[in-house]
């Protein structure tokens, strides 16, 4: 007969506090992310986008990029960062919670003396850490190219934009984790978050602003405009009136989120979706 070697335990186990358990979950989920195919794919996407931009700017020397340092960072970072952050959210948040159900990893991580909220928070922090790492890679490549064309003097607005992009990442992950908690199927949760961030939000924002003529303050991607706006030579006006198509075309009002407004939208999205996601995960059953 086999003997259980751990027969006598020298000292008694002391279940750690919830914060420590958040750290434990974060550590091992991050390790899992770091070795995962999705991390590698995201890194390749970031490197690919960076390579294309490097070649295009180097070969064609577009004026929009090379007029000034600020215009360089605006064209390079302002157009890519929002898209990339959404991609990070989809990759790391889309199935983070639904995967615990569908892939059955929840049966390994949850039947222990640990609160579900600790698992949720730990996984969220791991996703934030993994996404931030890739964001840092993109930031470094942007800075490298900027330094090549404009030297080491980096406009302070770029620092602001990076910080805002990181705030946006926080909100995006809050949102994708919430959607991930809604579903038990990983493909549904990934699909829904991808459709929302890559199409639906932009579509709703355009329709609401142009057709209904109200400010789309309730759309997260509208708040994310501030990431690109801070890189403008002059911060865009909150509202701009333009004339529509044709000689008698209607007058349209274009909206631009102010920085406080954008930050408020980002913060509200994070707080509300994080709370809702947590509640959903706490209540969801492993049936």
């Amino acid at each position: 007969m086999i003997r259980v070697n751990s027969t006598e335990v020298a000292s008694k186990n002391q279940v750690p506090g919830s914060l420590t358990q958040v750290g434990v979950t974060m550590k091992y989920t991050f390790l899992d992310y770091l070795r995962s195919r999705r991390f590698f794919i995201l890194l390749v996407i970031v490197l690919l986008i960076s390579a294309i931009l490097t070649i295009v700017v180097g070969y064609y020397r577009p004026a929009s990029f090379l007029t000034s340092g600020l215009s360089f960072y605006s064209s390079w970072w302002g157009t890519s960062a929002v898209f990339l952050v959404a991609l990070f959210g989809i990759f790391f948040g889309g199935d983070a919670i639904s995967g615990e159900f569908q892939n059955r990893t929840g049966y390994f991580s949850l039947p222990h003396p640990i609160r579900r909220s600790s698992v949720y928070a730990g996984k969220w922090l791991a996703a934030l850490l993994a996404s931030s790492m890739i964001l840092v890679v993109f930031t470094a490549i942007t800075l490298g190219n900027g330094a090549y064309y404009f030297g080491m003097s980096v406009p302070y607005q770029f620092g602001e934009s990076v910080l805002l992009a990181w705030f946006y990442l926080v909100a995006v992950l809050g949102f994708t984790f919430f959607f991930s908690s809604l579903f038990k199927s990983t493909s549904y949760s990934i699909l829904v978050t991808a459709v929302l961030f890559l199409f639906a939000f932009n579509l709703i924002e355009t329709l609401v602003a142009n057709l209904v003529q109200i400010e789309p303050w309730f759309i997260l991607t509208y708040g994310a405009q501030i990431i690109g706006s801070v890189l403008s030579t002059e911060y865009p006006a909150h509202t701009t009136t333009v004339r529509g198509f044709g000689p008698n075309g209607p007058t349209l009002t274009l909206y631009n989120a102010t920085i406080p407004e954008g930050l408020a939208i980002i913060a509200a999205y994070f707080i509300v979706t994080a709370a809702l996601g947590l509640i959903l995960f706490e209540r969801k059953e492993f049936t």
Partner: protein
């Protein structure tokens, strides 16, 4: 230290109009192994999930050492090792990392973690694989790691849901040995299984459930004797092939024996009335007959008879 206990008090789980578990009242105390039997969909896994807070009760309570699992999960599960529904492990982690995660979550002291992980990995015979990523493991290998995870913090209570699922015959035998050794360490083991022979082999008590209702909970011998008209059944193995008249000699010559039927040329199934003392006398008589007795154990068929009879009655 108090004796370990698990207790279901009016534990009910409904999914819409379907009742998966119907007012389960069960009180299991002290160190022992309890087999939890029932057909598919009877409510076995539902019960175990309620005891690990993977699902919420519609009404009633699941208590571990007197602590409500749902309202005070951290306290209730601190001394419980679990294996529910063949869990999957994060595929990029190695068994060492996955087990470290469990050890850190459960507060296994840092100084002991490495040794304990190595001990349990040896226990489930996965030493060679401890630093390979789990993603490529077979179902049986993952199940061994899951068993290791349940053993890791050396808990006093084990909740095991068909622990030998996915294992090859050797693995199943090893799991049985592990559970037997846990019994020797004064642990309470509550284990669902479809394998009646496994339950007969390692469990002291048995609980049977069907359609969400508990049908019986008692010691193995009481259950088999109660539902077989007071009869007990043992299977006796012999070294040599038996001659044709030996069944009759045993049936007529040994007090208490009601019948002796041949299972094969080296095995007899003997039915007898009486308790432990009759069993002792029966074994002594068999040895005295110089037939070459090499094994003597309660027949799994006795439990099977009870199982089939009870489950049929609830249809």
């Amino acid at each position: 230290m108090n004796e370990p206990s698990i207790q279901a008090v009016g534990l009910t789980k409904r999914y819409g109009s379907f009742t998966a578990l119907d007012s389960l009242n069960l009180n299991i105390e002290r160190s022992k192994c309890v087999g939890f039997l029932g057909p598919n969909g009877a409510g076995k896994t539902t019960t175990l999930k309620l005891f690990t807070d993977l699902i919420r009760a519609s009404s009633g309570e699941a208590l571990v050492n007197g602590v409500n699992v749902h309202t005070r999960k951290k306290k209730a599960l601190e001394s419980v090792g679990t294996l529910i529904e063949t869990p999957e492990i994060y595929p990029s982690l190695t068994p060492r990392e996955a087990l470290s995660m469990v050890a850190e979550t459960r507060g296994v002291p840092a100084a002991e973690r490495k040794k304990r992980i190595e001990d349990v990995v040896t226990e489930v015979r996965m030493d060679e694989w401890v630093d390979k990523r789990v993603g490529k493991f077979s179902k049986g290998m993952k199940q061994r790691i899951n068993i290791a995870a349940a053993l890791l913090s050396d808990p006093r209570i084990f909740l095991l849901d068909e622990p030998s699922t996915g294992l090859d015959p050797r693995g199943m035998s090893e799991v049985r040995d592990i559970v037997k050794s846990l019994k020797g360490k004064q642990r309470l083991i509550f284990m669902s299984s479809h394998l009646l022979s496994e339950v007969t082999d390692i469990c002291d008590e048995v609980a049977m459930i069907d359609h969400g209702k508990l049908l019986v909970y008692d010691t193995l011998s009481n259950v088999t004797s109660r539902f077989s008209g007071g009869e007990n059944i043992v299977e006796v193995g012999f070294l040599r092939p038996l001659d044709g008249g030996v069944n009759g000699r045993i049936a007529s010559g040994v007090p208490g024996v009601t019948s002796a039927e041949r299972v094969d040329d080296r095995t007899l199934r003997i039915r007898f009335n009486g308790g432990a003392s009759t069993q002792e006398r029966l074994l002594s008589n068999l040895v005295g007959m110089n037939l070459g007795v090499i094994s003597y154990k309660p027949a799994s068929s006795a439990l099977e008879d009870v199982y089939l009879s009870l489950i049929k009655d609830t249809k």
